[in-house]
Point group: C2
Chain length 389, copies 2
């Protein structure tokens, strides 16, 4: 398989974009990535688009050809494929785009992710999100995504003594970063006290422990590494792309506080890239809920099992340690347009590796990781990124 | 890229499967394909699942890991990806599965397609199907899929003098084949008069010009051609896999009666396989509406533009010509569980090339084609299949 490089990146603002439609935000992100890659649309072979639930949310299926069409590219008759895996949809699209270029089937592809969550009432969006849990054994009995993640949090507290304040530290860091990101849904800073005193959602998680419902889109342009220098001075190599799955329902897991899909996808990715967690300087990880960031850090091998709470609270992942996580603000502050998340994670890692992250820049960032999770971990996708000097 | 072979096939009965759930039919088809391939589930690397609208139809997203899980395979932590392109979802899944094996990323993958359309009222299913047209410019104004295809039929009649009876001949042939297919939704024969006298749906199309709403699932197992002999005496080579897209809305097409996505996907596929339409003996084509079969035959190069009506009525595609189409009964009689269709087409072509099609067997079938269409042709996928002796 050929080495694949990321040649361009694009992203809309994340938030409540009530004045703009799904197709408008999809096109904006895609064109920005094409312009950034200095690539003409006539060079493209395919579009891969990650999206969770456009059918339920905006009554529109077949959104991949839709975006091509309204970008003015219908006449090129490109391939266009939508990919879905709940909250991991964007990273799955990146995986399929990587396969398309690595295989030699296409030279240049756009990978996009987009979701429009705020065109329906919040209660309806939450019902639709519950479709990423096991409908017949979880959702139908009233379990919601925050409710399920709250059970993981409770068990983590029980098994490892994780403190409520340690969970809150994840949200405080996310908002600190969001304040520095002009694309972020939330740009306000939060204190530990504000997180602790927020309205409860599903105990122990309060409203500031949960990522918001956002609209937004992100895109990257992929191409073969051997031609990357023609387009950019700082090609970023996609060093690994791995998908792993697990049971849908929480009650079937061997251990409630371990996302085996993340453990396996992470190990496969480090093996593919012949690297280890010690090489990672920046990581975008799944903080859809504060607890999901803590277990993900353990499952990716960045910290010993059970020790993520004290480690995060001591600043080990927010600047004082080897890895800095979620410089974008993460799902919590940058926002959570489900299908766009995995692609936006890649966009932020590329910014960091190029040295274009502004106030959020992590010095010496040459190797990065992104981890995207669907549901409560039935799907995890891990990508590794490397600056090629 | 490596040559890819189809090693196993499986399919449920198509129809109103009210006593069985989505996950049950998905698992049945997948296991049948694994058993047919004589492959152990521990050899698998990935599942690709084609599905149009499980979120809207059964309140369940992330159906690819769901099927893996309930098949007892969660512990293997395979990759599982859902692929969507309306009615072309199944063929898109086959395309992505082909890429996964051709690239070398995986050795053995299961490609499935499944849809459960009859768990919601027909009116709701029809509303959801309209999501494969352009929601903002077609569906929102009341256009339905049969309504849009009826406009194509009208124009074909106007431009080429196509007769109502010639459209009806497509349905009569489909039911003739369905009567011989134990998996078919409809197993009754129809006469031209019955089709002409049926209740109108969207003039000139009556109820027997339109494929039904069906439940069903189908699956194939793919592997590298160089290892195929270990599993089967009759490996079927996937000689080409091509996707092409076009405008979502009909009013943006350069010609209402030509599916440019099919024209382009077909040309690319024949170029990839270094073959021509003259080599094809069996073809599964999109007869979601009788008119869609006629325009598809023209767009794939099997008959001159405008001449498909008289050619079909004279038996050229139902036994007396070089190509016999839709021996499965097609979407019209075998049934239309959207996401399953493209995979079921591959299953039928493999049966024909293996000589296992029973009463429906076409003699001398060594090279076959399948064409799957999403919406009114915004996406077309063409596959070519070759028996390797």
């Amino acid at each position: 398989m050929r080495d694949v490089a990321i040649l361009g990146i694009g992203q809309t603002r994340f938030g409540e974009l009530w004045d703009r439609s799904f197709r408008e935000i999809g096109i904006e992100a895609g064109f920005e990535a094409l312009v950034d890659a200095k690539l003409s649309s006539t060079d493209l072979g395919a579009l891969y688009l990650g999206n969770m639930a456009s059918g339920s949310l905006i009554d529109q299926e077949m959104i991949a050809p839709l975006i091509l069409d309204y970008a003015g590219l219908a006449g090129h008759h490109l391939s266009a494929v939508r990919v879905e895996g709940g909250g991991a949809s964007g990273a799955l699209a990146l995986h399929e785009g990587w396969l398309a270029v690595a295989s030699g089937a296409h030279d240049f592809v756009v990978v996009g992710g987009a979701e429009k969550l705020t065109d329906v009432p919040d209660t309806e969006a939450n019902r639709i999100m519950s479709g990423t849990a096991d409908h017949e054994w979880e959702a139908v009995f009233g379990a919601t995504l925050p409710g399920l993640w709250a059970m993981i949090a409770r068990r983590h507290q029980h098994d490892y003594g994780t403190q409520r304040e340690q969970l809150a530290a994840v949200a405080v860091h996310a908002h600190e970063m969001g304040a520095k990101n002009p694309n972020a849904h939330f740009r306000n800073r939060l204190s530990i006290d504000q997180v602790l005193q927020a309205n409860p959602v599903a105990d122990p998680l309060g409203v500031f422990d949960c990522a918001p419902l956002s609209d937004g889109a992100a895109a990257v342009v992929l191409g073969p590494m051997e031609r990357a220098r023609k387009f950019t001075d700082t090609p970023i190599r996609l060093a690994a792309s791995q998908v792993a799955c697990d049971t849908m329902a929480l009650h079937h897991r061997r251990d409630l506080t371990t996302l085996d899909s993340t453990v396996v996808a992470g190990k496969r990715a480090f093996a593919q890239a012949r690297r280890s967690p010690q090489d990672v300087r920046v990581a975008e990880i799944h903080d859809g809920y504060t607890i999901s960031a803590l277990v993900s850090l353990e499952d990716l091998g960045f910290v010993e099992k059970g020790r993520s709470g004290p480690a995060f609270a001591s600043g080990e992942f927010s600047g004082s340690g080897k890895v800095t996580v979620n410089t974008s603000g993460g799902l919590k502050a940058q926002g959570r347009p489900f299908g766009a998340v995995g692609v936006a994670q890649a966009v932020e890692i590329v910014r960091q590796l190029r040295g274009q992250a502004g106030d959020r820049q992590v010095s010496g960032a040459e190797f990065g990781l992104s981890q995207d999770v669907g549901g409560t971990g039935a799907t995890s996708v891990v990508h590794l990124f490397e600056r090629v000097n």
